[in-house]
Amino acid sequence: MAETQCSDLGKAEEILARYPHQEPALIQVLQDVHRAYNYLPCDVLERVARALDVPLAKVFSVATFYKAFSLEPQGDTIVKICMGTACHIRGAGQLVEELERKLGIGPGGTTEDRKFTIKTVNCVGACAMAPVMIVGEKYRGNAKPARMAKYLAEGSDNDEN
């Protein structure tokens, strides 16, 4: 059995109450769970599997197949670097490297203090402002490695570029 965890299942119950208890709802439920818990805790997945009557192995399979899901707790702020083609040819790779230097973690990693998680994501469709990074909810267009410290410090707060 999965190692014992004691997540607050209340949030999961609320989410489950919003959906029909059938397999097609699985991905939608997992997305809401991910948003509520900031990752997919094992015990919540077990609860979801039971509620939707989907084998646990299938739930785990879905949870590991889609990029939107993480089975590890995420940092408070998620820094996403767009890896779209336009961003690639306009230097997204340099943004990733600068982040690695600044935070000491690579894509997919979370800082020890759980403040930041770096994720590389597929094209976010903001190609006109390539390269793009998203700090929390804040989109940073024409992002420059030299401004990385500022981006990280301001998080989602500042609306100006």
Binding site: L56, A57, K58, V59, F60, T64
Partner: protein
Amino acid sequence: MMPTLHINGRRVTVAEDATILDAARAASVHIPTLCQFDGLEPWGGCRLCVVDMSRESWDDDWFKVVTACNHPVEEGMTVLTDSERIVETRRVVLDLLLARCPETPLVQRLAREHGIEKTSFEPNPEPDDCILCGLCTRVCDHIGVSAIASVNRGWGREIAPPFHQAPPDCIGCLACAEICPTDCIPYSTSSSRREIWGREFEMLRDPKTGEAVITKEQAEHFARRSGVPLAYFETSDTSKRREMAKTFEKLQVVK
């Protein structure tokens, strides 16, 4: 109506719901397969059974590459299993599999049969015996258990129980290990206990002889599924034969 088609020039008539693979077998034309199993739905994952196919209504020289395992037959169809591009595609697929599983006897043998002794690609630094044919997960789904499934995607894909821990839904039936064409799912079994996927099972033992062929979980699952009384599973086949023999003898006495 039973469709008639040509495979490598051989004429063959098969049942309407047959696949190209069925037809090829009927025509004694060998098509290699890895992920195909008669008792399961075709999956089309290994791509070893690719063939060239042309429909009656198409231009003579127009062929499409399809997988034989799941493509339905059609009246007037022409199938080639040995065209140059098919042979080459199959060779590359085997070459790729050999790179993934350089030490796996089955893959080595198939590759050798297609003239490949050594992979031309970069061999897997961590040789693996799993060819990701999906037979184990499909058989597990088929019997209604789904204790294991594919995990991750792409190159990182693997077959595993949930959270890589002893699978709670597993019934220890060993079907996954038995069906595995490269025997890469380890297990151990005796009349007292069985172990697979890191989970231990107690066997359903005959109270008299101590013999056992299935686990308790397996008996319960199949009794539920098939409607066969659970009591049927509780005695071993030798005990049951003995009981039957005794019944026969009694019949004799009555007479």
